[in-house]
Symmetry: C2
């Protein structure tokens, strides 16, 4: 099999696997189900991903790589990076598939070392990116304090993805972009 064919085979399986996982949840997710949905044999899927753990890890790494890519695009040097970041985050909230996959990654990382490493690396990069944005706003802030504030901002963004999904038609009855920007600004600027 050529490298290109192997790559496209992997990509096809991952795309299908993401849809199944986000629609049916981890409890109903299996190699057999993914194979069926791809129109491949089980052994063909196993050729690319020998175990369910490996498939899940690859899936979460893929979702995480996409998120990091999007984050990198936010840094555009116009002084409004925090605003762009908040807009990106809220638009991601409306991508229910993405949200569900990230939550599955949280739960999965508790029971799978590979997913846990991928998630750990993701947060390291995410926090670093937000730290850069903070230091552009307040260049003389101590580096360790900027990182601490970046951790709190990322926590706020991640937690809001849950609250937004649960309450978008009820208790989230305000301009969420504006409220999130203001809250992040409060975290960054408090002494």
């Amino acid at each position: 099999m050529t490298l290109a064919k192997k790559k496209s085979g992997k990509a096809e399986i991952l795309t299908t696997a993401k849809i199944i996982l986000s629609e049916k949840g981890a409890r109903n997710f299996s190699m057999r189900e993914v194979a069926r949905a791809c129109g491949k044999s089980l052994s063909n899927v196993q050729y690319y991903y020998p175990s369910l753990e490996e498939l899940l890890s690859a899936l979460f790494e893929d979702v995480i790589d996409d998120s990091i890519q999007k984050l990198n695009e936010v840094i555009v040097n116009d002084g409004e990076e925090l605003k762009w970041l908040v807009d990106l985050i809220i638009s991601n909230f409306n991508d229910v598939t993405l949200c569900k996959l990230i939550w599955e990654a949280w739960v999965n990382s508790a029971n799978c070392t590979n997913s846990s490493y991928a998630l750990h690396d993701f947060y390291i990069k995410y926090i670093e990116q937000v730290k850069l944005i903070i230091l552009r706003k307040i260049p003389d802030m101590r580096d360790d304090l900027a990182k601490q504030k970046a951790v709190m901002c990322v926590a706020l963004f991640e937690g809001l993805s849950v609250l937004y999904t649960v309450g978008k038609n009820t208790f989230i009855d305000f301009d969420v972009n504006d409220a999130l920007y203001t809250a992040a600004y409060g975290i960054i600027n408090v002494e």
Copy 2:
């Protein structure tokens, strides 16, 4: 069967189910597994909880009721409620079983209406409680603004449970109680 016996049967199943779910994750959670661990027959477990969905819903409702109970105890009218709340939240982070169960509730609510209602009610109560704490700090704040800030604080707390678990030995290398208090204070006080 007496009501008391039925209650204790239910409680025993829920306690065992919580341990299995937090240790093995939703993918390896089944009625059969719970029955085995309780030393009961499958049909006996089904007498109390006819389906897996019903067992999971009852389990999440139980976890959520406990959390609301703990939250209610935080309101002690000494003007330091935000500090007590932050301390409670951080101490809950170290209860890995509780964290995993809450994350499973997030994921499960995406695919199960009953869990989703329970989670929704939980956040309504949680936000209301934090709103009260905010209004004690700043009594003349507009009610809708206090609620909006309460949503952001709860998002911060929930998101930090993920980041804390992923990074407690690496990027969470600062006094997390102090940092969380300061961040929440920043959200509450920003104009």
